[in-house]
């Protein structure tokens, strides 16, 4: 055990000397910052009311325009101005007095036809179309209610609209999983580098002369790589906590991410042991991680979803089983790779 700790300590000392761990943390900070930047943009597109100043001015015309105006009263961020004729409304649109034109006419069969003109491919198109959809859906709902006696099944009454932060779901389902899993990949990459570098420079041969077995060297390197991962994740969770985002089940989340780190480190060590050089090893590692992680995320109940449910405090038996399965998988994978390396050595 002692020699393993020595190897691990040496690995960590090397990292400390190069200060690259700071860079790794910097990258994570960057991703976190940019993700929040990103979500604000996305939200501003799909929920323009969430941002100030997104007021869409609609030029209305046609014989059903009065109902449209009533619907507009219920929708924040949209207002309808009535024009005498469709061409007047279109003229207002052409001189930029209105963002869009809606001509609502009753047809002779009791329905309403709304002919909508939105600006073509300008920067505001998305925002305007989203607002128009809101407006027209409200309009549709009121019209539907007045025809409800003809429906065989009534639409369910909607609960009241409540205020919510659009960032809430994003924070738990995207941001926290990303922050938790990023250290996992960094640790794996570190192991690949650490092993291939020793092979390249011939220092592994020297280590073999020392009274340690190849398995112990592997243990030490893996230990160092796995040890630095939960600390980084914990740092993020604490930072989020300080920022007002409460994260539940921190211990379980860290257990899951440590298991995943062990799994990825095992894969990385296995690849580094068989690949001919660093370039090939890093290349294979990137692909393997992509395949593993992409595949696991795509499956129902993948690690990303498990972390989200743990963090948001909606965990149940299924998430606990997920954690246990990954822990078991990690142990099997690591022991398998260790056994392979002990028997076959590191080819280099």
């Amino acid at each position: 055990m002692d020699s393993r700790l020595t190897v691990a300590k040496r690995e960590l000392a090397g990292l400390r000397a190069e200060k690259t761990i700071l860079l790794a943390i910097g990258i994570q900070l960057f991703i976190a910052a940019f993700s929040s930047f990103l979500v604000v943009g996305l939200v501003s597109m799909y929920d323009p009311g969430a941002l100030d100043g997104a007021e869409v001015e609609v030029a209305g015309a046609g014989d059903a325009v009065a109902d449209l105006e009533r619907a507009a009263d219920e929708v924040t961020g949209a207002s309808v101005t009535r024009y005498e004729s469709a061409s007047d409304a279109r003229a207002a649109f052409d001189r930029n007095a209105a963002d869009a034109v809606v001509v609502a006419t009753r047809d002779d069969r009791g329905g309403i036809t709304a002919s909508v003109t939105a600006p073509d491919a300008t920067v505001e198109t998305t925002v305007i179309v989203v607002q128009l959809r809101d407006l027209l859906r409200t309009y549709e709902r009121t019209e539907r209610e007045s025809r409800s006696s003809w429906l065989s099944e009534q639409p369910l009454p909607l609960p009241d609209r409540t205020g919510t932060s659009p960032y809430f779901t994003f924070t738990y389902t995207i941001l926290i999983p990303v922050l938790v899993f990023l250290p996992v990949f960094i640790s794996g990459s570190l192991v690949v580098d650490s092993i291939t570098e020793e092979i390249d420079e011939g220092t592994l041969e020297l280590l073999r002369v020392a009274p340690v077995t190849i398995g112990e060297i592997l243990d030490g390197k893996a230990l160092a790589a796995v040890a630095i991962a939960p600390g980084q994740a914990l740092l993020w969770l604490l930072l989020l906590e300080a920022n007002g985002t409460s994260v539940a089940n921190v211990g379980t989340i860290l257990a899951l991410m440590t298991a995943l780190t062990t799994l990825v480190v095992a894969v990385a060590a296995g690849i580094a042991a068989v690949a001919p050089d660093r370039r090939a090893a890093q290349f294979l590692y990137s692909i393997a991680v992509l395949v593993l992680f992409g595949g696991a995320t795509a499956m129902a109940g993948g690690p990303t979803n498990a972390v989200a449910r743990l963090a948001i405090d909606s965990a149940d038996l299924a998430t606990t089983i997920t954690v246990a399965v990954y822990a078991l998988l990690a142990a099997v994978a690591y022991l398998g790779v260790r056994r392979f390396v002990t028997e076959n050595g590191i080819s280099g």
């Binding site: 790794a24 009791g110 036809t113 198109t125 019209e143 065989s152 919510t164």
Partner: protein
Amino acid sequence: MRTRLKRVLRVARWEASRASGGVDRRTVLAAVALLAIAGTVVGAGVAAGVVGLDVDRDVYRVGVDADSSYADAVEGEPALTLVPAERATLGTNADLVVHDRGAMEGVVVRATDTSKGEAAAAEFREAVEAHNERLMYAELNRTAAFPLTVTLQYASPSGPSGDDPTVGDDPTVGDDPTGDRGTGEGDVDGVDEPTSDGSMDEPTSGDGVDDRDEGAGDDEDASLGGDVDDTSADADGEESGLASDGGADGEDEDDGGFAVPSIGGEAFGAGTVGSPGSITPPFPFASLVLAFVFLVPMNFLVQAYGSSVLSERTKRRGEPLLVTPLSPVDIVAGKTLPYVAVAVAVTALIAVVVGGGPVSVLAILPVAAAFLAATFVGAVFARSFKELTFVTVAVSVLLTSYAFVPAIFTNVTPVALISPLTLVVFDLQGEAVSLGEFLFSTGPTAIAAVLLFGLGLGVYREEDLFTQKPVSRKFLDALAVRLYAVGEGVRRPPGLAARLPDRIRGLAAVAFLTACTIPFVFVAELLAVAVLFALPVTVSIPVLLVTIAFIEEVAKSLHLYAGFEREVFARTDRVALAVGLASGIGFFLAEKATAVVQAVGLTELYVGRAAFGSVAGVAGLSPLVLAALFFAPLVVHGVTTALTAVGASRNRTYYAVALALATLLHAAYNFGVLGIHG
């Protein structure tokens, strides 16, 4: 010139022959095998129905009576999980409890008094809306279910013909068969024959639109998958690096494919007909995903490039190369050329596959150059492969975000054009790109790439390449190389004895180097804004002002410190003041120049937007005040940089103290300006 080109090409050939041996056939086979396994597993998953990229599955727990109609609404929404009402306790195993009072009384929900409860309530409302849509589709009486038939068309305000120069011909109608077909159906069913009495067999607007959506989505998915497979298959043959990217995309594509809500292009087609719920905003989702495909190969390319540059150094193979009559520029250009060629080839290939044009390839080229340049600097500075890995990851993440994130806002704000990827999205949407937009978008990235190569070339010499200096010291070396001597008794290049031109040359070099930092200062400040904007305004604004002041002060003085440390400048107060002022002036001029370019660029592109707004604010002031406002930054930059220069001429501690003082001074000025404008 021709001999030089020959020399560069010789190095390029040598590099290409070496690099192709780096990844052998076995590795490629292993990679392909991995991808094949992944494809099989995901494919089987799709077939079995267990694959789904809903990361928000079951995050909110809703207590509802299993007999209630609302239970169906909850079941239909993946993010909600149903808890039977009799077992649900608010706060412990449910975030929301639904009390169904029947059709007349409505519905009452009780949520926990947390943000989670609010989010769950909002999610529930959306689930009910979606459920109602589904109910209505099953109705026989179409007019009662969908009383409103919407025809959506797009037109530019100047007239239906559309002579707006930035907008090309209507993008998707012509070349998208699914979109066309769908629109046609919609026209026939929805408008010309609106059904009134709900006859069963008459196709209706709702159905028509629904079919169209599904059809389009499926087709697009399938074609994506097919395209990507092609890429990887083609790529395997020629270049190992390519195989990975094709495969990687395949993964991404597969994952993303299921979540594609709508294919942006279709919504642009004229005359979309349907109920209000079927309106899709023209969000360029597919184009964005495809644009991302262009970025993925870069990450693999820089890995190979960084490895090649660093192994040159660790194995000291570059040493004999430096003794040859080849100049460092020749060597670096030659070493980089094959990678640029690969980047262009891959980009062109992807462009052909996903349907991009020459604009896409030209727009990606500066991005590739920036990737390579940043990796080059990292590889020249790094001491070990471990360090290089972090550098490569940092470069990939930074540049990918820089290129990708603004492109998301392609149809939302003109700021999106700061990323060249936005041009690709435009190109894929079939919109024309004007020359001004193109230059505005690719210029900064290209300049940054050139500057980074220049920085790295500065230390592409024996004493730096083959020594284990810390990154910070190499960085100072790289800066000092670009300076010329100022002052008595310092190293000066031979043949430049005349004193006056010498000094001017030295100061001009200082100012020029300062001006070169502007793009990086800009990016750093953007980053600071992105990081800090989450904080409350009372905290974020002061912190932001100090941070920006600090970034600018560092940019103006770091090379001065390098100059004093490497003894390019004499350590006297006179020299310090001179170089400080020169640096301040250089920064001022560059800042004004970029401000003018930005203002011109933005007003040109989007008449009457941001630029006009800022001008309007100062319209009421007298010319004297305006002039003072214009030149005040010059005074500030001059004073603060002179201060830091004097500090830098002493030693590191003095430099740090002077830097802190200058930052505070600068921040105080920023506060003052904010007060005047605000």
